[in-house]
């Protein structure tokens, strides 16, 4: 796998974002402005008979998950001069603990455990200790995990343990078990695919052989809505089950219909359609297409790309961001979920692809910032902060950086980047650390990160 050298110049958000954002009940970014824990993760102690590839997958996936979390400083295994930690007895030996916590290693948190075969398959005992506490104390996590003794089973356990460690460190929820849906043409036509958050397990979900856009995973992770031009050529919303890959019922509307988005409770879909005229308007409906409600009334321009606020302000009936061409080039607007109180974000330029952070405090989008009129088409990804009423630019490379989508931890984004018709998917923490290329085969675009 090749990393594109010129992909990213990510702004360090620095001290500005360490300040708490106003309103609401959470801070948005917890990883900047404070020192990160120094975390050591020795390879887990293997029991007899555990296949080497299973051990390797487990140790690599656990390490990568913790590194990608961007909330800890991973102290490399090649530096581990202290005595090995095979069990809780070792970590509670005062001399051993001091060897890890003292200079030069200066470890603050230590994750360790064992991987062995049991009657039911693979058994992993995982622990996390605050080794700055005296021996005999400081246990933050101790849990047993079981799964089949296969690389896939080892991967599943590692992801779950990583999430538990991130939560025990105070940075939950983690993203190690999350999924990303996207569009790829690698099979010869645009189809919906899904993958693990780290790019593994890429799976083709549709075989419709038609233009497809905008896959969107339901909040419970069991369904996926998207746009397809299959069966008649006109753009329409389709739904599939992610459990069976089979289609779920959703009506065809008159006129092109696209850009679906799930409500936070999973009971409604918002989308754009020309069902009532020559202009794209925003509608919502139940998941089976009933209960149709029109939210916008465009005249000679288009409203599209709705995105629901996963955590609207207290007392609100819901909020939807969307794109509208009402002042000329497309801009991002916010409205209530009944269509009232439509307000434009003060951006200008050409602003599209809104994605609301799970905590509702910020909105990622793609923007050609400079100039009106004809432009180069070079998008960058930005984040708008509702509290401070300001934006931060995340990418700077002059390619098509588009379709940002937030991870469930409010700390990561996935987006597409590359020259036209040659884009790949990348994830990154919003402080600019841990960039990772997730795809390489074919043209990959329109990523959507799952809710959990």
């Amino acid at each position: 796998m090749k990393m594109r050298r010129n992909l990213l110049c990510l702004v360090s958000l620095g001290v500005a974002l360490a300040a708490p954002l106003v309103a609401q009940d959470q801070t948005t970014i917890t990883i900047t402005g404070t020192a990160k824990y120094r975390l050591a993760v020795p390879d887990f102690t293997p029991g007899g008979g555990v296949p080497a590839d299973v051990q390797t997958v487990f140790n690599q996936v656990l390490w990568n998950d913790l590194y990608q979390s961007a909330v800890v400083t991973m102290v490399g295994r090649s530096l581990y001069t202290a005595p090995p930690i095979a069990s809780e007895r070792d970590v509670n030996n005062p001399a051993v603990r001091t060897a890890w916590s003292g200079a030069p290693l200066s470890i603050q948190r230590l994750a360790f455990g064992s991987i062995q075969l049991g009657s039911g398959g693979l058994l992993v005992d995982g622990y996390l200790y605050d080794v700055t506490q005296p021996a005999g104390s400081g246990r933050l996590l101790g849990r047993r995990y079981a799964d089949p003794a296969t690389p896939a089973g080892a991967r599943a356990i590692a992801h779950q343990l990583a999430n538990d460690i991130i939560a025990a460190l105070g940075f939950g929820p983690g993203i190690a078990t999350s999924q990303i849906a996207f569009i790829s043409n690698r099979s010869g036509s645009q189809e919906v695919w899904t993958m693990d958050y780290d790019g593994s397990n890429q799976q083709q979900r549709t075989h419709l052989h038609a233009i497809a856009y905008s896959p969107c995973i339901s909040p419970d992770g069991t369904k996926l809505a998207f746009m397809s031009e299959a069966g008649g050529g006109e753009a329409q919303i389709r739904l599939i089950s992610l459990l069976t890959n089979k289609p779920l019922p959703f009506p065809r509307f008159r006129g092109i219909t696209e850009s679906p988005a799930w409500s936070p409770d999973g009971k409604r879909l918002a989308f754009a359609s020309k069902m009532n005229g020559a202009d794209m308007a925003i509608y919502t409906s139940n998941v089976d297409g009933t209960g149709l409600r029109r939210l916008t009334n465009p005249h000679s321009y288009d409203d599209l790309s709705p995105a629901w606020n996963p955590k609207p302000p207290a007392g609100s009936s819901g909020q939807i961001a969307f794109v509208s061409g009402r002042i000329g080039q497309p801009q991002i607007y916010i409205m209530n979920a009944d269509g009232s109180n439509q307000q434009r974000l003060p951006l200008g330029g050409y602003a599209v692809s809104p994605s609301w952070a799970p905590n509702g405090l910020s909105l990622a989008f793609a923007w050609v910032r400079t100039g009106g009129g004809e432009n180069s088409g070079a998008f960058d990804v930005y984040v708008w902060y509702f509290g401070e009423q300001k934006y931060v630019q995340l990418t700077h490379n002059g390619d098509r950086n588009d379709f940002p989508s937030w991870a469930p931890d409010n700390r990561h984004l996935v987006f597409q980047s590359g020259p036209p018709y040659h884009t790949q998917l990348f994830s990154v923490a919003v402080d600019g650390t841990v960039p990772a290329q997730l795809t390489s085969a074919g043209n990959n675009e329109m990523p959507n990160w799952s809710w959990h």
Partner: protein
């Protein structure tokens, strides 16, 4: 992604912050600088002189029609067509709206140049002549007779220069009453995919509405937006992007 490539990902990521740092430092809008070009000697050209040829086929078109430019060069390191850099050898479709001179310049590594030019003469679109064989269902001439309509950036208005072609297209469909047509709305690569899909639909509808205004039965016309997904041209040039902003006719069913 295969398991094998996933492992490569981990390997890369295990390298940790050093990788992230190098990514951050090499970007910032500064692409890796190419080796500087060899200095051009102010005199004393010693290399082989470049040559270049340029042809147009056809050299005369009706307004809105298209022609193809073909050029080839030798001993050149840079070739410019109407001052726009192009490949050393190549072809390019053009649709001049008035008679146009196309100039090509080939430059060698030591600064020598060669020039060629060709003129494409644009004639007025012919006055539509009523066809007296209205029962013909022969669409063999579809591709030759029906011409696409081109659009401005982010616009779906029918341009004045597209009207002669569309008027001739309407005449063709009226003289082939059994012919059905599918109009594809196309966009260039700039802009969001979802927004461009809506824009492509507007372009296809605009072409349909124009044909209907000229007397073509709306029931014979289907439309589809393909957004930016089926480009006619993928070069990063204004001319190429213009080729992709169009309402394109294909036989319907």
């Amino acid at each position: 992604m295969s398991t094998a490539s996933s492992r490569h990902l981990w390997t890369a990521l295990a390298a940790g912050s050093a990788l992230a740092l190098s990514l951050g430092l090499t970007a910032c809008g500064h692409k890796a600088a190419p080796a500087p070009p060899a200095p051009i000697a102010p005199s004393a050209s010693t290399g082989a002189a470049p040559t270049v040829t340029l042809q147009a086929d056809p050299t005369a078109v009706e307004s809105g029609g298209s022609s193809k430019l073909t050029w080839s060069s030798t001993n050149a390191v840079r070739v410019e067509l109407n001052v726009t850099p192009v490949n050393l050898n190549g072809t390019q479709p053009v649709s001049p709206t008035e008679s146009t001179d196309y100039q090509i310049v080939a430059r060698s590594s030591d600064g020598q140049t060669a020039n060629a030019a060709v003129r494409i003469t644009v004639t007025a679109a012919p006055t539509p002549t009523p066809t007296v064989a209205p029962t013909s269902n022969d669409l063999g001439t579809f591709g030759d007779s029906v011409r696409d309509a081109f659009f401005d950036y982010d616009k779906s208005d029918i341009r004045p220069d597209a009207e002669p072609a569309l008027q001739a297209d309407a005449q063709f469909f009226k003289s082939h009453p059994d012919a059905k047509v599918l109009i594809e709305g196309h966009c260039d690569d700039r802009g969001s995919a979802e927004y461009n899909l809506a824009l492509g639909d507007r372009r296809a509808q605009a072409v349909k509405n124009y044909l209907v205004s000229q007397g073509v039965d709306a029931s014979r016309i289907q439309t589809v937006s393909v957004g930016k997904e089926k480009p006619f041209c993928t070069e990063d040039t204004d001319d190429c992007r213009q080729q992709n902003r169009r309402g394109h006719f294909t036989p319907g069913n």
